[in-house]
Subunit: 139 residues, 6 copies
């Protein structure tokens, strides 16, 4: 049986919801005030779940310090205190938190080797959260 | 792969745990002080999860404003500041939070069309929560 | 200098906001849906603050076990899983959380002897809280 | 004795920390990455405290619905989903959360008449908060 | 369909991360300051999930009072205010929170009969949590 | 008028409540299971409040990076992942959280120069917190 470790990371950033494929009217309609050209922002709480066998000697799924170093270097440094729309991965992709979850999941899953990254959950506000997971549909 | 959006809604209500199929003694035994005829209450936090493909242009699982309108009209208006025992769905069903979860899940799953409602989670207190989900057993 | 210890206690109860001095129309106007005759309820989080010199040998403002015993016997036993309107102190006083704060403050301040009860704070919901304090106006 | 009611309101916005009185180098030094020209953002939780005698008939410090209407119209509508730097009050004042607290305090204190607004507290992140209060120094 | 009830329990304890199979140098390297011989500690929040059919008369997955009694007697009494390393189950097993989750899961799953214990989740800090579940891999 | 900035810092540590001035029986009586010779522990959340005029150009009470550096060097490095009883300041002082609050307050108030440290609040558990403040009695 596997155990799962979830570690939370915090950063603040801004974004504007706007699709180049929509007219100005359509953008205003579908995104409302979130389409405001000057953007708005959030405190994002990113929860990274890794899963695996608990090592019999070490007693851990993976070394937490290794996970922290990887996530801080690859994710927090990249997104903290930035406007997401200015980053290359959101040039043609709307920086909704759904898309941010997928982007972070793919970066961590392909890059972090000591254990399998199985799920990303992002709290965008106290009332909204988003999940993206490996494998079959979960719910 | 699907992404999942969870949105939280808050309301306060009261209930009395009492089954007409039990004697007064049995009700007192199984429900304890929750069988008090004047009822007691809670702040319920209802978390609604919807899942689906992230629309490539829109970048969302579904329009959050549509979900908010539907949940507010169908659930929050119905239960907020009410005594649950006075509502028709709890005339013959004990308004435990298990049964409230099932009732809210069924109302949202059958009525909300823009995306699939996959799970309801209700926090009844800071120490208790309940989940009811679509599909196969999850855990 | 004094130190202050704050300890939290949780209970769930119901209430109906209704004043016998108001007409039915006036009650409906001032209390809205909270005037619903069947009541509604909350999870109350009561934070009790006691202050005093830190005892040089013991290292404490007061013995936490003594405070717990007193608050559980005098407050939690009294209000937990009750409809507040049925209690004698709310026969002629509307059981708003302002009045509940004053009632709990007075019971604890006059009854608890090992240290001075200096403040009561009650969270009625995740969005509302109430404070009542000893001494001069604080804010 | 007075009682105090605190009500929380949530909004998300973005800001850039930049002073026209500083050189580019000085701005970078004092504000760090918060000086990024594209801005970043936060989920702000604004806690508004009002104080006063509890009305003997009504049982309240003030009508919560009146407070909600006032704060929503004057504060939340104004700041929600905006870039704070684009608003007139932050043309010559850096939109730090200290200054946002003072601005909101002054707007509410001078405009809300049913009870005295005694304190504003803003949570900028899970780790930072700011307070601004009426009257003498409090702490 | 099954419903799931999750109940939270709190306790504080200390532990030292140290494996007898590692040299002093290796222990220092893999556990860092957590290998400090005097130990450190946490407030653990243990969330116990039980699942099952909702009883048609009772309206519950299981009697909450029975669950509380069992968990308090078997888990909280055992671990609260203890140094985990002094307990027999952690004589040869490092008391990481992964291993504590497995230990608590096995004790509850084999001992609690009124409903199936399906998952244990332990929050070790505000930023770390661990899950261990019955059945197939979940994520 | 002054504004107040509160910043939170987290660390985990262990302690044993024991006074050399008490007999073994008296220690067991007053501290209960917290007198266990192997100790237990907590996740401490230390909230540091600094107050002062908001600088007209900078818009801040003090530079947050300076505060973080000072608190991390003087407090978090000192206490994180330690057994408090092993530190010189708790050789003759019981490491209750009252005494820890006073110790941290005195270290920060005397050492941090850019703004006045006006209050320390420590959450020892989800249910307990302690405050120690400058100046007159506050509550």
């Amino acid at each position: 049986m596997k155990a799962y470790l979830t570690r939370a990371y915090l950063f603040s950033a801004s974004h504007r919801l706007h699709s180049d494929e929509f007219s100005a009217e359509k953008n205003a309609e579908v995104y409302g005030k979130c389409n405001n050209p000057h953007g708005h922002g959030h405190n994002y709480r990113v929860e990274v779940t890794v899963g695996g066998q608990v090592d019999a000697t070490l007693g851990m799924v993976c070394d937490l310090a290794e996970l922290d170093t990887f996530v801080n270097n690859e994710i927090i440094e990249r997104y903290s205190l930035e406007n997401l729309n200015t980053l290359p991965e959101f040039k043609e992709v709307v920086p909704t938190t759904e898309n941010l979850s997928i982007e972070i999941f793919n970066r961590l899953r392909s890059g972090f080797k000591p254990a399998e990254v199985t799920k990303i959950r992002i709290e965008e506000t106290a009332m909204n959260s988003f999940e993206y997971s490996a494998g079959a549909e979960l719910r």
